[in-house]
């Protein structure tokens, strides 16, 4: 991913004497982050790579000999189907999050002094366990649950609607679980927006909707991209939502990987699937970034 350097880089303006200090300050800033990534992420990741090339232990774990067997097994139409379905579900959920989250983020960003409080109130539900909130949704959506009972007592429907244990329920669960991950980056981006721009658009004759579409949205591209990333990627790896809200009837990539490390006790295979998935998504992201330069 290439980052265009800021216009009028300070390298041109500041005297040469400042150069050495610039570099060292930047390095200092990078050092802790780099250290954390190397020690606590890249090295463990190398271990996982090693796992993917080993054979499964009889009861979980890994053991020799070294082999490419796991990767060979992944190249199967069964897993391609699962991957495709996961990508589709994640994309739909991300799109819905974007549509739902944007107005909400805009509202909070323009709320003046109440901004932080409203932002905190968005996050508050997510400080209670995701598992029990999912159970609460299951309770709401099941046949004898509140939603169906309410609709039936209002005589809007006769038979309970199948609101649970299907794809729709999974999408609802995913959207619900990741909405704040969309709202926060959007807010960070929208908050910076100068209201003067909207006033100017209004003065030039744009309706609020046109101003929104043609002024606000383009300026918050960064926030939308960040939010989409932070929703799409975890959705791919979700396993609790498809299992509970979907009734375990759909396999997503997340459930597949989870299963390999738990019930199936086939760590090398789980490692291979994860690594291939990660490589695939990373490549797609780089291609997209190069194509749509403005987004990054």
């Amino acid at each position: 991913m290439n980052f265009p350097s800021p216009r009028g880089s300070s390298l041109l303006i500041s005297p040469l004497a400042k150069k050495p200090r610039e570099i060292s300050a930047r390095t200092l800033f990078l050092l802790p982050g780099a250290a954390v990534m190397i020690v606590l992420f890249l090295i463990p990741l190398l271990i996982v790579c090693a796992y993917s090339l080993l054979s499964r232990g009889p009861y979980g774990g890994v053991m020799g000999p070294w082999t490419l067997e796991s990767y060979r097994r992944v190249l199967d139409s069964l897993y391609a189907d699962i991957l495709w379905r996961s990508v589709w579900l994640a994309s739909v959920s991300t799109a819905i999050c974007l549509v739902l989250g944007f107005p909400l983020a805009l509202f909070i960003a323009r709320a003046g002094s109440r901004k932080t409080m409203l932002l905190n109130l968005v996050m508050l539900p997510f400080w209670t366990s995701f598992l029990i909130r999912t159970y609460a949704w299951m309770f709401l959506l099941r046949d004898t649950g509140l939603v169906d009972s309410a609709l039936q007592s209002l005589h809007l429907i006769r038979e309970p609607l199948p609101l649970l244990f299907n794809t729709g329920a999974v999408i609802l669960g995913l959207v619900y679980g990741y909405l704040p991950f969309m709202i926060l980056p959007l807010y960070a981006s929208l908050e910076k927006l100068d209201p003067v721009l909207l006033d100017a658009a209004g003065d030039l004759g744009a309706t609020p909707w046109t101003a929104l579409w043609r002024v606000v949205v383009p300026l918050t591209r960064e926030g939308m991209y960040a939010g989409s990333l932070l929703v799409f990627i975890p959705c791919l790896g979700a396993y609790l939502t498809p299992d509970l809200m979907g009734g375990g009837k759909t396999v997503m990539v997340g459930t597949l990987v989870q299963n390999q490390f738990t019930a199936a006790r086939d760590w090398p295979f789980g490692a291979a699937i994860s690594l291939l998935l990660m490589a695939l998504v990373l490549i797609v992201m780089r291609v997209l970034a190069r194509r749509t330069e403005a987004l990054l």
Binding site: P32, M117, V122, T128, I132, A226, L229
Partner: protein
């Protein structure tokens, strides 16, 4: 337009809080099964008498706050540096860490720790959990900070440099104040991700570092459990009150000139 936003926001908040209302409702249910039976305060009493549960909550808070502070600081610095001049391998690593399924991250960290423990005589504990949390939340912080930084006009920074400030002063007195809402958003995200993490925490936690999600998963595995509901309701009401109070104080603070 304003009315539309308000209506949308109300609907949005309702959507977010709906399961919580259900939980709160059933925390008063006198039956353990999720079918309404009668009203009772029993589960709330149970929570207060459960010292293990309270200990788990404290552990979760300690871990989340520590990890959030450290990750936000490191992440903000790293994000700023990356914005000035990109470092490909670091950015890719951060994105990769987001892509990694939780269980893979947990298993890899566990294996890493076990390998290190052969040289240092340490065991799994709070420190291993905090380090793990910093590791996976760093990417979130950097992405949110970068998103905000890219809407920046660098003119202010350059002006400050021209006026004789050094890099550090520019960062501290010019950039950070403008970055503050982004930092707050990043910290909130970090705290949320850390407080509710189950998979990674359960794998790298030691004997004495049980967290709230681990206990909740154990208690709630069989379905909606009333004492868990009571605990969640209490957490929500408690934190919610804090938030509202802080908002009021902020309001008053701002209105006095």
């Amino acid at each position: 337009m304003r009315r539309f936003l308000l209506a949308w926001a109300c609907a949005g908040y309702l959507f977010l809080y709906l399961p919580l209302f259900v939980l709160a409702l059933f925390s008063f249910n006198s039956s353990k099964i999720a079918v309404w039976h009668g009203f009772t305060w029993q589960w709330y009493m149970d929570v207060f008498h459960d010292s293990a549960l309270l200990e788990g909550t404290v552990n979760s808070l300690i871990i989340a706050v520590t990890a959030t502070i450290i990750a936000t600081v490191i992440g903000t610095l790293a994000g700023y540096a990356l914005w000035k001049r990109p470092v490909a391998w670091l950015t890719n690593s951060l994105y990769l860490s987001l892509l990694t399924p939780e269980i893979v991250m947990g298993v890899s960290l566990l294996a890493f720790y076990q390998w290190i423990f052969r040289f240092l005589h340490v065991q799994l504990g709070m420190h291993t959990v905090i380090l793990a949390h910093i590791s996976f939340s760093l990417a979130y912080v950097v992405i949110v900070i970068l998103a905000r930084l890219r809407t920046f006009d660098t003119a202010l920074e350059e002006a400050a440099l021209d006026l004789g400030a050094n890099e550090w002063q520019v960062f501290w007195h010019v950039t950070v104040p403008m970055l503050l809402p982004g930092i707050v958003a990043a910290a909130l995200l970090c705290f949320t991700v850390s407080f509710d993490d189950y998979v990674i925490t359960s794998l790298v936690a030691g004997v004495d570092s049980e967290t709230l999600p681990m206990m909740i998963y154990a208690m709630a595995r069989k379905g909606v459990s009333p004492s868990v509901n009571a605990l969640s309701a209490m957490i929500t009401v408690g934190l919610g009150t804090l938030i509202l109070l802080a908002g009021r104080l902020d309001d008053r603070g701002r209105s006095t000139p």
